[in-house]
């Protein structure tokens, strides 16, 4: 299946859209384009079709910049053609004007409608040649730039000013965008403007031809030839003979004969004809030039222009077709269209809990001066023996361990047994040994509340985080673990509840 045709409006819209998208963030773009990509039911291998379908969707309904620009350009072109027709008709009427006294001079007609267009045609070839071909010709590049600059096609955008301003703005913007991607779209722009130039020239020729025909048909014209140069009639006849070669075979009446040439030489001075005696030549003979002139205009003026118009349009379409649509931003677009969007982040972002207030830990030395007694609850320490706890805690806390009870183990009954041990208010501080790396849980804080109820106000409860060492013994708890324990215990709001650092390390 052939790829769909890209139009000028598409191209302008594409660049305009890319420009707009450059300001959006990638996530938004990705989501939007992937949604479109999934709606479009074309094989993702056809990049061009995919991008065009995408463009149609993002530009939405209503007229787009590109369409407005294209319409403005079309209007400008039509106006230019109209001007061409009028100008051509004016020129034709002026040159074919016969006031009844002086005959119409054939030479300027040949110059304007045959020689000039032919020369211009050569220039067009020069302008259209790829720059690389011209390197051998000094100054050719400069000339080429000049020609491109002078191309009448450039008038169309200017003429589009007859359109409402929003059209004009779209066109300015659109062509400006294309210009900024000259390497990509330069050929398109060139053949677009060349085509408009050719249309203008075709209308110019048609105008001239129409005016000439009208004068030929509705008035009787007398033609003659006249030049300041010393051109013998034989030479002029030879020139006209060469000029009429293309149609000599099928339109012999449009080939001026030597007789005609000789008979219609004219010198303005005195208004006399020279060639056939001194009298005015035969009237019929004077009118005989017109078929030659009309064929000349047709063949050298109109026909090549029609051909170049066709050529321009053909090349213009080809240039549009050849646009690869694969420069970096479009490459990215293609990816956005074809690659799935993956989202995995949280549905709603949450703020973390506020950090617990920092709190001091006590050092063991501050609590137990001189081996004063302490009661111990070992929270979730089933792996430690009573003897070990007595030794390690006694050393770390610098207290004389009076009793040890286990709590916080898998079986919740251990908690009850531990609480039962404190049926009477003790006269020593109660130390709760905990694993430093385990965070304080609700389980533990509920236990502490029950314990406080049992003990009553005033009895110190000291939470001592324990750290196991790689061997068997206990070591100092990690600083961040201690800090967490201290903070959380303080948050309990029990003034006799403190956190104590077993190792007595404070800083």
């Amino acid at each position: 299946m052939p790829s769909p045709q890209l139009t000028l409006a598409d191209l302008i819209d594409l660049e305009a859209q890319m420009g707009r998208d450059a300001g959006l963030d990638r996530e938004t773009l990705r989501r939007r384009d992937r949604a479109i990509g999934r709606e479009i039911s074309v094989a993702p291998t056809d990049r061009r079709e995919l991008i065009l379908a995408w463009l149609r969707r993002v530009r939405g309904l209503g007229d787009s910049t590109g369409e407005r620009a294209a319409r403005a350009l079309a209007a400008g072109t039509w106006l230019l053609c109209l001007i061409g027709l009028v100008a051509g008709a004016g020129a034709g009427a002026a040159l074919f004007h016969y006031d009844g006294v002086r005959p119409v001079n054939v030479v300027p007609i040949l110059g304007l409608f045959v020689a000039l267009p032919f020369a211009l045609l050569l220039l067009l070839v020069l302008a259209a040649a790829p720059p690389a071909w011209l390197t051998w010709l000094p100054g050719a590049r400069a000339l080429q730039d000049l020609l491109r600059f002078l191309s009448p096609g450039r008038l169309a955008p200017a003429l589009s000013r007859i359109m409402p301003s929003r059209f004009r703005r779209s066109l300015d913007e659109g062509l400006g965008n294309l210009r900024s991607f000259d390497r990509l779209y330069g050929r398109v722009r060139f053949w677009l403007l060349a085509g408009i130039s050719q249309a203008f020239l075709v209308s110019l020729q048609i105008g001239a031809l129409a005016a000439a025909m009208a004068l030929v048909i509705f008035t009787d014209l007398a033609f003659a030839w006249s030049t300041t140069l010393q051109v013998p009639a034989g030479t002029f006849h030879a020139i006209t003979h060469v000029i009429s070669t293309p149609w000599a075979a099928f339109a012999p009446e449009a080939v001026p004969s030597l007789d005609l040439v000789e008979a219609t030489r004219y010198f303005r001075q005195g208004g006399t004809f020279v060639g056939v005696g001194d009298g005015a030549p035969n009237v019929v003979l004077l009118g005989r030039w017109w078929p030659f002139l009309v064929y000349g205009i047709l063949t050298y003026g109109l026909l090549p222009r029609v051909l170049t118009l066709g050529l321009s349009q053909w090349r213009y379409r080809a240039a549009l077709r050849r646009i690869g649509l694969n420069h970096a931003p479009l490459q990215e677009l293609y990816e956005r269209l074809t690659q799935p969007v993956i989202e995995s982040r949280a549905q709603s972002e949450t703020a973390g809990a506020p950090a617990a207030a920092a709190a001091e830990t006590l050092s063991a030395g501050e609590v137990f001066a001189g081996q004063s007694p302490c009661a111990i609850i070992a929270w979730d320490l089933p792996e430690s023996s009573e003897a070990q706890i007595r030794e390690e805690a006694g050393r770390g806390l610098k207290c004389a361990v009076e009793g040890i009870v286990f709590a916080g183990e898998l079986d919740v009954a251990t908690d009850e047994r531990a609480l039962d041990r404190f049926r009477e208010r003790p006269d020593t501080p109660v130390v709760l040994l905990v694993k430093s790396w385990e965070s304080p849980t609700r389980d533990l804080t509920l236990f502490l509340e029950r314990l406080r109820k049992r003990l009553g106000d005033g009895v110190p409860i000291l939470v001592a985080p324990v750290e196991f060492q790689t061997g068997d013994g206990w070591g100092p708890a990690e600083r961040h673990d201690l800090a967490e324990w201290a903070g959380r215990m303080k948050a309990e709001g029990d003034p006799w509840l403190r956190t104590v650092d077993l190792a007595g390390r404070r800083d």
Binding site: R26, R34, R38, F181, R183, L184, H327, A328, Q331, E335, Q339, P340, V341, I342, E343, S344, R345, A346, Q347, S348, E349, T350, A351, G352, A353, A355, A356, D380, P382, E383, G408, E409, L410, D411, V412, K435, W437, E438, S439, P440, T441, R442, D443, L446, F468, T470, H480, E484, G487, R488
Partner: protein
């Protein structure tokens, strides 16, 4: 068939949120040392083109598992009834307000979620944890245990023995070290949990792999664009006639460096964005490293190619020439020694411009000279820029989203640049691509040249991640 839901549960502070952050590539998940950072369940759907393939749920974690289990045991009648008792537990305590964390985390499980149970394998196992495991077993849902390791120590084996009794699958998973491959392996584990979930997980794996490639491709292009822009950078400064050029020169030079740095930062942001690191802080020292680095000879030698390699790539001549600095207007050679010195040569080509000494602005003929710095002529520069980008890419693309520390980009002192380890033929190819980028003025062809360079860089990126050497 509904897409699977996985509830990440476990004791408080064992890395549940970290695992979810890593799997969901969400660096905004609150993770902290303090317990109770996560209070309510958080939902993390994995969506491919808006279609959910699976959902992860981060939960608050067990706080009173022993008591919950005790409550349930009291009501146990038969094994078949167990999941009903768990449901009953949630329902009853809804009224009393007790067990808020247990209720919150059990709810999705009772609704059909699979269980991902997280423990810390760097700390010893304690029988107390069996309360949590037992409750999870009572729910009867498919379940997998993940042994995370928060600390250095290794208690994985004892954990494994306990976990094996309660979980059909037990996998190690280090939330902070989890790169793409490790995460993918975990997803393969998810497939095993239930037959019906497989197609969803398979599709997710597929999409994630494609996304991975897309990110790499985009990163390569971002790096190519950075190098291209840096190489092409030029700055102009107008200088009046007959004044000392030196202060202007220094100013321009500083602007030039800053512009290079800024371009580098932009690329870093792009890559981090591609890999969903939205809150990443690059370490201060890194920034200052960038500051001095590109202009510090020792770093160049360390990161970049050795002189021998330069010579082999045919660069050395270029380096020496590239170091040539001339300012036609002053007719003197500037920047020798102070800026770079030695064989590394100058960072920039200086173009003095007698021809541009008079510039015309809006029809006025103004006097003065134009000082211009750039484009970069030192062939070494592109390699340094590439090397640094590669290092950054390797770190960012493999970084777990659970980490909240800063990204430290310091290359270790003895390390040679990654590019210096490339085979000569490949270095030549890259050099050729770089040259094309440097030389191509036409924007369209420049685009081609960068795409070509990006293709080569993509290969480097792939290896920067896989061959961790």
């Amino acid at each position: 068939m509904e897409p699977p839901v996985f509830a990440v549960v476990g004791h408080v502070n064992k890395g549940k949120s970290s695992i979810v952050a890593a799997l969901a590539e969400d660096d905004s998940v609150p993770i902290a040392r303090q317990a109770r950072t996560t209070r309510a369940n958080q939902i993390f759907p994995l969506r491919v083109d808006s279609r959910t393939l699976f959902t992860l749920i981060d939960t608050p974690g067990f706080e009173q598992a022993r008591h919950a289990l005790a409550w349930m045991r009291e009501r146990e009648t038969s094994a078949a009834e167990r999941s009903n008792i768990v449901a009953e537990f949630v329902r009853q305590h809804e009224q009393t307000g007790e067990f808020p964390e247990e209720r919150e985390l059990l709810r999705p499980i009772l609704d059909g979620a699979g269980i991902l149970y997280v423990v810390d394998g760097s700390r010893p196992f304690s029988p107390r944890y069996e309360a949590e495991m037992e409750i999870l077993r009572w729910t009867g849902r498919p379940r997998m245990a993940m042994i995370n390791r928060i600390g250095e120590r290794d208690h994985v084996e004892e954990w494994r023995q306990a976990l094996d009794q309660y979980f059909s699958l037990v996998r190690p998973f280090n939330a902070h070290a989890a790169d793409f491959q490790i995460r993918l392996q975990l997803l393969y584990g998810f497939r095993e949990l239930r037959e019906e979930w497989r197609p969803f997980v398979d599709e997710a794996i597929h999409a994630l792999e494609a996304e991975r490639e897309r990110r790499r491709r985009r990163s390569a292009r971002a790096i190519a664009d950075m190098v291209g822009d840096q190489l092409a950078l030029t700055l102009d400064k107008r200088v009046p006639d007959e004044v000392d050029l030196a202060p202007f020169r220094r100013q321009l030079e500083e602007q030039y460096r800053e512009a290079l740095r800024q371009r580098e930062r932009k690329e870093r942001d792009e890559v981090e964005d591609l890999y969903q690191h939205r809150r990443l802080r690059r370490q201060e020292s890194e920034l200052s490293l960038v500051t001095d680095d590109l202009f510090d000879e020792t770093v160049w030698l360390r990161l970049g190619l050795t002189r021998k390699q330069l010579a082999a790539t045919g660069l050395l001549g270029g380096v020496l020439v590239g170091g040539g600095i001339d300012l036609a207007a002053g007719g003197a050679t500037f920047l020798t020694g102070a800026l770079i010195g030695g064989a590394i040569g100058g960072v920039s080509g200086w173009l003095g411009t007698r021809s541009l000494a008079k510039i015309s602005i809006q029809g006025l003929r103004l006097g003065g000279r134009l000082l211009r710095i750039g484009p970069m002529r030192n062939p070494q520069f592109a390699w340094i820029a590439l090397d640094r980008a590669l290092l950054h890419y390797a770190l960012v693309s493999q970084r777990s989203h659970a980490r909240r520390d800063e990204l430290v980009l310091e290359p270790d002192g003895k390390q040679q640049g990654r590019t210096s380890q490339l085979p000569l033929s490949e270095r030549r190819e890259i050099e050729a691509a770089l040259t094309r980028v440097r030389k191509e003025k036409d924007p369209d062809f420049q685009d081609d040249a960068r795409e070509d360079l990006a293709g080569k860089i993509e290969g480097l990126l792939e290896r920067a991640v896989s061959g961790k050497g």
